[in-house]
Amino acid sequence: MALLEHFVNGLIFSSIIVLGSIGLSLVYSIADFANFAHGDTMTIGAYSALVTFGAVGGLGGAVFGLPLGFFVALLVGIAVAAVVAVVTEKVVYEPLDVGSIGLLITSIGVAFVYRAVIQMGFGADFTRYDIRPLRPIEWLVPYGIRVTQHDVAIAVSALVLVSGLHVLLQHSDLGRKMRAMADNPDLARVSGIRTDRIKLWTWIIGAGLAGAGGVFLGLYNQLAPRMGFDLLLLIFAAVILGGIGSVYGAMLGGLLIGMINQLTPVLPVGIEYANAIAFVIMVAVLLVRPNGIAQEAT
């Protein structure tokens, strides 16, 4: 009973982690660095949606108990996160002549800047979208599942986005080109791949998904300047667990980490060790499957 409840909770929470981890993983493999500003990109998405939602309002109608205005805000959140990421790439990362660790350090600086700007604009305090939280869906409660329509909306939207990405990768050359570029950028150019475009697409997709993750995180929980950053460690764990650079691995890793995080109550340790357990399990899994659970690491 309790297990089922935690399991479903895990599924919802995972949806958000998955959205974050895909982007991180993509950027990790294409731009070749661990982007510490990724969490704050999520925050940007969330706050852009907040502003938009404030401006456009509910717009009437409701899907999954969410007004249509929210979906407009979601799209804006995705777009702004993507734009900010692309601008950052152009202004900060591209002109840099440093290795991957250098980029990592730079991204810490970028994260600070994002966060500081958000805090300047919105203050340090937390806030929420002006959407009334819902009660759990009645007919599921007897089964021990306590989810709201919003939770369902989060999971479904995440599923839609992820499937969209899957279709994109499967039915276009983009995925293959991305892998080729991650493998050998020089040869990719020699083969005629427009690597700067691929890179741009990577940022757009990665940051867009992160933006969506941020918006959902805001809906699921609340908005605060540190919201994305505080989730970053878990997202990293997911990416590594899935096998760095593998999109599908990142999905799987995100799912697992979210689950583990939410399933701690049924484990024989205090809930205060939730994150520690996620990491211990991650290391244990890796000792058995050295290339991540997807085994397809580039």
């Binding site: 990592l104 730079t106 810490i108 600086g109 600070f112 800047v113 300047m120 520690a276 050295p290």
Partner: protein, 403 residues
Amino acid sequence: MGALTDPTEYWADLTRPEQGVLAFVVGFAALLLFGLLSGGLAPTYFLYLVGLAGMYSLLSFGLNSQWGFSGLINFSVAAFFGIGAYGTALMSASTSPIAGGYSPLVGLVVALVVAGLLAVLIGVPTLRLRADYLAIASLGLAEVVRLVVLNERQWTNGSAGVRGIPSFFEGWPLLDTFPSAMPGLEVALPGARIVLETPFWNALLNVALVVTFVSVTYAVLKRAHRSPWGRVLRTIRSDEDLARALGKNTYSFKMQSFVLGSLIMALAGVFYAHLNLFVSPGDLDPVTTFYVWVAVILGGSGSNRGALFGGFVIVAIREGTRFLNELELMFELGGYLVHLQVPFDPAPLRLLIIGVLIIALMRVRPEGILPPQRELIWPDAVDGAPSRPDSGVRDAKGGGDGE
């Protein structure tokens, strides 16, 4: 030869960045001196900053001998730092729930032993595997150590922290009572009147301690880095298979490098505990790991001088921005100070400035401020070889002088 006997030639021998850094260091030192003399910079605070910089330098040395030398990605700097701090605190503090009351020297030894053991424990399963393993395991380790310290109250006092830590020199003849025994010393300066009292002498002792730690570490690392031992590590960093093919036991080398680095980090923790006299789980916050990485990369990966300098840069960035806080919104206009109203919350400004500084530094000096010397061969062996003159003199100064 040396900087003193033949300054022009010495200057000409330096690379551009070295000249830049030297000029910067000299200029900065002059500025500090001016600040001290004019009373603008209080000596006790200055010594505190030097102590802090020394601590960051030690941490950077530790990470440099892992990442910079062998390419080991360690994201648990804060954990080893914390183990050093807690190790000595739990041995020597009056409120320690397990031991307590021992001499800080015992604390030092215990802290190092624990850190070393933990490093081996992490290293055994991960160092045989692909490089990112350590990164992952250490990321997890940092969190586990932090949570254990926070939650296992019976051993660590939990979130209450450990207080009542003696100063490092407690129980030593002479040094023990030196700070309180020193009479207040009044220094009259053109700008101000400064009274040097117990806190100042305490701070002075702390600086002496950190300078000792830093110099010894620097000397050891400098020798190791230019040796065949260091060369094997560099080979592993670049291509581990090649090192294996040439018959090097890479696992053992990586382990040595990892343990060495961890010990140095713990040493920094030991210093910190006796500097602050209070440790709490907050000291294991991962942000320390961030800053140390920034210090190493900004200084120049693989360069000991860079790590030393990077430690100072970090303190300049973190603590220097406190002063910006006071200056930022003011400028002088015809003798009047005009207070600018800003339409946003200025509190995160410091965070913003730190972020921008990091980005700017990476842009200006992508390979770090003082990248490692281009060739690292045991000093005596290259005599007469057509490389850049050996820079032993410069390096020998080591210590806490910021070069």
